[in-house]
């Protein structure tokens, strides 16, 4: 018996407690991640980064090598950017700490126009990436509707008159008086491009428990002035943002207890790039909650 106990104790020490997590998954290949947009009446803006392998420990310093700050980014309204009459601009690079990646490329020479097509070229590391997008025709908010939750709180909806032939979808941002910035309504409206005619959409933003205005939840306060930004995007951009809206991880924690391969985002950037170059038709409206 003594021998058995000795053996067991020995095995206990030999095997130890916690296993090492050997995280080696083959298949990582570096991609140039592109997030670029051009809106009607505004200059184009492009963010570039590299995808970060998960096996690598990251900190504020090491993340720098995944930010692409020395690329040549060209936007043109002609497939041949050097053609006579083409509006072409090499974007200016600048640090931008408001979001990640904290470095952007922006235009200063020409602004986006409704119905126009724009070409993006990114030259970096010996690669040349290409993408194309169109700014759709602007959609206006046809009407507003509020539903009372109690004496002071309202659910706000917008009514859009949808022309199904245009195959557009809609992203909505709202800014309450209390907010310092626009909050995205985390739904892509008409994501299946199947709706037609006048449709009502609830635009209450996602309640954020960390937000000072959380007590209002996803509702709007009676008498509050709400700024509403409506972005109309075309069907190619819709395909991308549809998946992004559903499956992105906004908090970084939580969703990965779920299994299953998430749908790959439908990038419109040529390889080895990945991401989206999209045109967006913007309308801004204000509304006082009745």
């Amino acid at each position: 018996m003594k021998k058995t106990i000795t053996l067991i104790v020995l095995i206990s020490f030999l095997i130890g407690c916690k296993p090492d997590l050997d995280y080696k998954i083959s298949g990582y290949s570096q991609k140039i991640i592109v997030e670029g947009f051009i809106e009607n009446g505004k200059f184009p803006k492009v963010y570039l980064s590299l995808n970060v392998p998960l096996s690598e420990k990251m900190d504020t310093d090491s993340i720098q090598k995944y930010i692409v700050s020395r690329a040549k980014v060209t936007v043109s309204d002609n497939i041949n950017s050097l053609a006579i009459g083409a509006k072409t601009e090499i974007l200016t690079a600048s640090w931008d700490n408001k979001q990640f990646p904290p470095h952007s490329y922006f235009g200063t020479e020409f602004k986006g126009e409704e119905g126009e097509t724009y070409y993006l070229t990114v030259d970096y590391g010996g690669y040349s990436l290409h993408a194309i997008t169109t700014i759709p025709v602007t959609t206006n908010i046809a009407d507003f509707k509020t539903t009372a939750i109690n004496d002071s709180m309202r659910v706000l909806s917008i009514i859009l008159d949808i022309d199904s032939k245009l195959k557009n979808s809609y992203r909505v941002y709202t800014k309450k008086q209390i907010d310092g910035f626009y909050q995205q309504t985390p739904i892509l409206f008409n994501a299946n491009l199947s709706l037609s005619g006048k449709k009502e959409f609830n635009i209450s933003p996602l309640p954020n428990k960390k937000d000072a205005s959380f007590s209002e939840g996803s509702y709007f306060k009676k008498g509050d002035l709400i700024q509403i930004k409506l972005c109309t995007i075309d069907s190619v951009s819709t395909d991308f943002f549809k998946e992004l809206t559903i499956f992105s991880t906004t908090s970084g924690i939580g969703n990965d207890m779920f299994i299953g391969e998430k749908d790959a985002l439908k990038s419109n950037i040529s390889s080895p790039g990945f991401g989206i170059w999209y045109g967006s038709a913007i309308t801004n409206q204000s509304y006082i909650i009745p």
Partner: protein, 709 residues
């Protein structure tokens, strides 16, 4: 397998051979027809001679295995029997020969148990004091069983009338149980049992006295179950039995260190009821009617993206079957029919405020009906035994049902047929050849169809699989299973050795690609299911010592389990989540004397596989994860060693009792319960993603006192 029955006539004992096959029905009938017959054990060479009816689990032997928190768990013990892999830490799920957990048919007195787990899989729902017989079939399934692709676990509670009132029970660290059997007369007896836990009411508050974080007491976990029933001998040839089971688990996670499950709660439970009448026409013919009801319901509150989401899922089944049985000297014929109606509610949903998606309150209930007929014949010819059978199923989805479409819904009214499937035919063949008195060879080829499916959406043992019966957009699963084995007994049948190989095809396998969050905004998630195929193959080795003071066994499985879906992994085959390449179980039991016996259990299983991201990037201020090769991540191997000692105490006022001392996971292996991607990106702005593992069960010593009188 040969069964020996002992007929007690006065003071004499006479041994007769009741059956050449382990057919539960035949045993029941024979037991019933001959008064005071008890199944005493199996013949020494049963390993060589057994027919297609699978493995008769030695309930008494398994009760000697090391316990967890004082609880015997005979169902979980199947994980150590060879050919079966456990799904993971603290899981009662069975992956039989590379199959999925929903491919096991689990019956309690003939009624379906949809989810046999308590405490997230730490215990099964079966009260060990009441289990009379337990059968496990993983290959060569005879035609009377069907409806699942991989295995049958057929558990029956005690079905004989005791001579006097019997009380059994156990007092353990986190739960206790008591069971009572009362003979009302020589023809009628009733039984009842209760089992319940006191984890959050007693254990956690007590542990705070020893310094555990008081916050943990805000968590709640309890389970309870009740079994009750009766046995009524209407005449010397007719017997009526009724059994009822209901159980409930309640889990509320308020705060848990290193967990992403905070603010989640769930409750779930099974109910099963059976009414059965057996009639013996004469010595060779018998008939059994059985009416079964079963229900499983789960209700969860999930904290998802700052919104509270109520999810409910339910499965209900009512089933009638009639079995005719003919038992002659060298031949058994069995035929019968079965009719069942099922109602599945894959998920119903409601949210606490505005949900971050377009919530469609359009949900379907899937009603279905199935009629099955079967016939099988088992006979022996010289050294051969054959079991040939055929099973045929007719299945249809019934209305009411709405096929939600963007361009106008298709509405099917009540009592209409939404979709009928062609008759499925399941041929079954099993054969055994006795090479000599020490060795035999067995071969089986069987076809299976499965209409009731469950699709897992969590990567760990949370019982929230989506109920997905065959319906308008879901085809039934099917498989071919080929199996062969060589069996050898050594040293006067004191040692048994076997090697089995198998090959299994899997058709219409279902995979839900998007995780549970996508079901929130989807009226008909079944339209998004991916359909693929699979194949599994492997070998199973077993060496056991069956007699003497020291008994036990060693099993080793070498197995491969592949799936192939056109939409996944570029259409190339990939290793299934339950691909466990190496699986070793070592069980030893030592009877020192009449008072003391000891047991030990060691298991080693290759880690299961997960689908994991390989890189991340950000677009639109959102973190996007890029996934790598499908199921490309292998979790760390699972292994642990348990030991146990049983001490029989002196009888006190007629109460027989014993103390059990068990140590679970003696070398404190941190087996991963869940592996997930974690990040402090939004807390510290460091963009530090890392892979996190949560562990559940460290070394757990326990003591329990069991008694009977």
């Amino acid at each position: 397998m040969l069964i020996v029955a002992t007929q007690k006539i006065s003071s004499q004992e006479k041994q007769i051979i009741v059956s050449d096959s382990l057919n539960y029905q035949s045993i029941t009938q024979k037991e019933f027809s001959i008064q005071e017959v008890e199944v005493k054990g199996k013949l020494k060479d049963a390993n060589l001679k057994s027919g297609s009816a699978g493995l008769e689990i030695d309930v008494k032997q398994l009760k000697l295995l090391p316990r967890f928190m004082g609880e015997n768990d005979l169902y979980k013990a199947l994980q150590y029997m060879g050919g079966v892999s456990q799904a993971g830490e603290a899981s009662s799920e069975l992956n039989v020969r590379g199959g999925n957990n929903d491919q096991n048919l689990i019956l309690l007195n003939g009624a379906l148990i949809q989810n046999p787990t308590h405490v997230l899989g730490l215990f099964s729902v079966f009260n060990p004091d009441l289990i009379g017989q337990m059968r496990f079939i993983k290959s060569g399934m005879p035609a009377e069983y069907g409806g699942r692709l991989s295995s049958i676990v057929d558990i029956n509670t005690v079905n004989t009338i005791p001579e006097k009132t019997v009380v059994k029970g156990s007092i353990g660290l986190i739960s206790s149980r008591i069971a009572i059997q009362i003979p009302i007369s020589s023809k009628l007896s009733i039984y009842s049992s209760l089992r319940g836990s006191y984890i959050s009411s007693i254990i956690l508050p007590t542990l705070t006295l020893f310094g555990i974080d008081k916050k943990l007491t805000q968590n709640k976990y309890e389970f309870r179950d009740i079994n009750t029933g009766f046995i009524f001998n209407l005449s010397s040839r007719t017997k009526l039995t009724g059994d009822f089971y209901t159980g409930q688990d309640i889990l509320r996670i308020k705060t848990l260190t290193n967990s992403n499950l905070n603010e989640n709660s769930s409750s779930w439970g099974n109910t099963a009821a059976t009414l059965k009448i057996n009639h013996l026409f004469n010595d060779v013919w018998s008939l059994s009617h059985q009416l079964n009801y079963s229900k499983f319901k789960i209700q969860s509150l999930i904290d998802w993206q700052n919104s509270g989401i109520n999810l409910q899922s339910q499965f209900e089944n009512i089933n009638y079957k009639a079995d005719f049985f003919h038992l002659a000297e060298n031949q058994q014929i069995k035929f019968g029919a079965e009719m069942s109606f099922s109602t599945a509610v894959p998920q119903t949903l409601s949210g606490d405020s505005i949900l971050p998606f377009e919530n469609k309150n359009e949900r379907n209930i899937i009603n279905s009906a199935q009629i099955t007929g079967y016939m099988r014949d088992e006979w022996t010819y010289e050294n051969w035994l054959f079991n040939v059978g055929l099973r045929a199923n007719l299945y249809a989805q019934l209305g009411p049902f709405t096929d939600f479409k963007t361009e106008g819904n298709d509405i099917f009214p009540a009592k209409s047929i939404v979709k009928s499937f062609p008759i499925s035919i399941e041929p079954r063949l099993f054969t055994r050849y006795l090479i000599n008195s020490h060795s035999s060879f067995k071969f089986a080829a069987t076809r299976h169809y499965q209409y009731q499916n469950q699709v897992p959406v969590f990567s760990f043992g949370f019982p929230s699989d989506l109920q997905t019966p065959a319906s308008l957009y879901v085809q039934p699963q099917a498989s071919w299973h080929f199996s062969g084995g060589y069996f050898q007994n050594l040293l006067d049948n004191n040692w048994e050795m076997s090697v089995e190989v198998y090959y299994k095809t899997l058709e219409n396998q279902l995979e839900y690609k998007n995780g549970i969050e996508a079901t929130f905004s989807n009226s008909m998630f079944e339209k998004d299911l991916l359909v693929g195929k699979g194949r599994t193959y492997g070998s199973e080795w077993k060496l056991s010592k069956t007699t003497g003071k020291f008994t036990g066994w060693i099993t080793y499985n070498l197995a491969w389990s592949y799936r192939q879906f056109d939409q996944l992994n570029g259409g190339k085959p990939f290793l299934a989540r339950n691909d466990r390449r190496h699986d070793i179980s070592v069980v030893g039991m030592y009877k020192l004397n009449d008072r003391w016996n000891f047991s030990t259990l060691f298991v080693y299983v290759t880690g299961s596989r997960l689908n994991f991201p390989i890189s991340w990037f950000m677009i639109d201020n959102k973190i996007i994860l890029e996934y790598g090769k499908y199921n490309g991540f292998e979790m760390p191997a699972y292994h642990r060693l348990d030991i146990s000692a049983n001490c029989k105490l002196k009888s006190w006022h007629g109460i027989q009792s014993e103390l059990n001392f068990s140590i679970y996971n003696i070398y404190n292996r941190a087996n991963p319960f869940q592996v997930y991607l974690s990040s402090s990106a939004f807390k510290t702005k460091s963009f530090d993603f890392y892979i996190n593992m949560s562990y559940l069960l460290p070394i757990v010593p326990s003591i329990s006192w069991t008694f009977h009188f």
